[in-house]
Amino acid sequence: MDMEQGRQLAQSFDEMGGPGGDCRPQYRVIRSWLDGAESELLRLKREEAEQLFRQIGITFAVYTEGGDPERLIPFDLIPRILDGQEWDYLERGLVQRVQALNAFVADVYHEREIVKAGKVPEALVLHNESFEAEMQGFTVPQEVYTHIAGIDIVRTGPKEFFVLEDNCRTPSGVSYMLEDREVTMRLFPELFGQHSVRPVSHYPDELLETLRSVAPERCSGEPTIVLLTPGQFNSAYYEHSFLADEMGVELVEGSDLIVEDAVVYMRTTEGLRRVDVIYRRIDDAFLDPLTFNPDSMLGVAGLMQAYRTGNVTLANAPGAGICDDKAIYTFVPEMVRFYLGEEPMLNNVPTYNCAKEEERHYVLDNLSELVIKLVHGSGGYGMLVGPRASEAELGEFATRIKAKPEAYIAQPTLALSTCPTFVDTGIAPRHVDLRPFVLVGDRVRVVPGGLTRVALREGSLVVNSSQGGGTKDTWVIDLPEEPSS
């Protein structure tokens, strides 16, 4: 460990309490179990976990050259634990944030009051790559745009939670949340039994309920719901088939659907069957070759007509991805105040917008201490972690920022919290984040916890699975009542 990394870890908040620190109450049982667990046992358990995942067939294709494209996404044995009170606060903050985001998208495609009020710049909305003019003036069923939102949260202290980014396009990862729980319960039934862990396994039911509740108004009976996937070559195909299976809905590709007279049908062995709600896991640009990218082979020709005619619901709504824009992100606290008249419960990470001259100068002067991200990037691609970067990398990013400042934002390098993690050298602290999934339908539904991602490399702050990150089961536990002090 070099000095930089040592400093980083020393500054980080450890969610268990860290070596030498007092064990936080929610980790007491785990701590004593870890103290008694032999490395050999953990190694065996890890092998068992790997076999379980292989049986399930969970894989994650990573977009880089070389390596095993079908490799398993690493799973860490040791659950990450949040206590019920911590979570309840987070949950209220998440519901508030996603309600504001949904209101924002509705506004963006109608009157744009927030722009008129001078709170969000017009160019950031109307000239945004993710703004879909084809959505203008259309009121979607139940006025829900962000049906499934994944909100990435990091922590720097006992009460210090920050939202790192919002994912309202087609957030993925929920299948790992469910499988990690399944595997943990099978590996450590006794440990699990010693805690009162809030369940997550009802997520597919909650998702199904959410989708049912946004069926088009003219759909009178039980709505027919399908999950639209780009196909087996997509990195999240496993998740698509898993969720379709769990919900008991058909998994379809574009070629399985057909539009006739503004109605979407699915081809079945018994002929055509009308489709009411499409949970789509393909990007806006590929949804309908007659409206968007004309070369798309993945979508359904005529889909936008069926949608705007009110014959089918798309979840999430096209154009909802504008929330994922990292420049838009900086305005979310303002959205909470503007649409809900409330103070935001969850804070943003302070963000420098390189398009603004003054902020750009600050960023270029302090590059080695900041994290630089592409405004439209995701998955940890094209980002720079200043304190970890070489001189050459810093120089390269400075050049890129000067050439296209509007494409970049910068944030301070946060000392992300750590959790005990089983690595080659034994049990050691590793940095984590959390992606809870928020469902918006007739009401807002959140399952307790979410997907914890862990940066397995020592000192690394990049948790993305495409960058060598792994996952952990996330427990929200209700501690037994303690006498109040």
């Binding site: 109307l126 084809e134 203008q136 006739e260 005529g302």
Partner: protein, 279 residues
């Protein structure tokens, strides 16, 4: 003036295909310069086609044939009353002018477009500048059918020096946006005073001029739209305003037969009788 439009698009395939679909942006929306007297869009079955209004405010009809077939046709037939508004269009607009300053791959700027946009620098009024631009374009992109296609960019058309009205419109839009002027693509019909049939509808451009609003410019003919023009759709570029966008299943080869007839109804004054280019 009163204009009648008869527009038939016939699709023929060299083998049966199971399914075809077309989005049709060929319905005028009324504004101060245009009143719709009658308008119908019919497909293979002769029934009126379902329609909706898109984000740009265009009326889109959708034609689907979901059975094995070897030919199909779409027939647009209608009559409108038009008035010369000196190219000015005042209609309810779903999207603000500022939106139309964003570029698309078809209007992405290049050095040659920048140079062309800068040529009218000395002119003081924006309107003069746009007229000047409109007049320069057909001299730089000589009208010639077959040199360009639907996906040709403004930059490519200018480099080739050959193109049709679609390319003229894209070059105009790209240059106007370089001048920070909102600009958009318009598709529609044009009465040329001739009785012959044409093989395509027409396309031109609109730019947003403060105090006047949206003003049409037809670089192919060097004029702002008159009572001879029937606007049917607007968009950021050809793709979002295309008169027809379709898709079919199967591998059969398609032959397209298009006939567009725009005639002035007798008894009306026929002032615009000079021959104009349509494409």
């Amino acid at each position: 003036m009163r204009l009648q439009v008869q527009h038939r698009t016939a699709y023929r395939y060299d083998a049966p295909i199971p399914y075809a679909i077309q989005n049709i942006r060929l319905s005028p929306r009324p504004f101060r310069g245009l009143r719709v007297i009658r308008w119908s869009i019919k497909g293979e079955t002769g029934n009126e086609l379902p329609s909706y209004i898109d984000g740009y405010g265009n009326i889109i009809h959708c034609h689907t044939v979901n059975r094995w077939h070897q030919q199909a046709a779409i027939v647009v037939s209608g009559e409108v009353e038009t008035h010369d508004t000196h190219g000015m269009v005042s209609a309810p607009e779903p999207l603000p002018p500022f939106f139309f300053r964003r570029n698309t791959p078809l209007t992405e700027p290049c050095e040659a477009l920048r140079a062309l946009a800068a040529e009218g620098e000395g002119l003081s009024s924006l309107l003069d500048r746009l007229h000047d631009l409109m007049e320069r374009i057909p001299r730089r992109v000589i009208y010639e059918i077959g040199e360009t296609h639907a996906a040709t960019t403004a930059s490519e058309a200018l480099a080739a020096g050959r193109g049709v009205c679609q390319d003229h419109a894209h070059v105009f839009i790209a240059c106007a946006r370089l001048l920070d002027v909102p600009a958009r693509y318009v598709s529609g019909y044009l009465w040329t005073g001739s009785e012959e049939n044409f093989e395509a509808s027409h396309a031109w451009a609109e730019a947003f001029v403060p105090d006047l609003g949206w003003v049409g410019f037809d670089p192919a003919n060097g004029v702002s739209p008159t009572a001879a023009y029937v606007r049917t759709a607007v968009g950021l570029d050809y793709w979002s305003a295309a008169p027809l966008r379709g898709l079919r299943q199967g591998t059969a080869r398609e032959t397209l037969e298009v006939s567009v007839q725009v005639t002035a109804v007798a008894g009306q004054e026929q002032s615009q009788s000079q021959q104009q280019v349509v494409s």
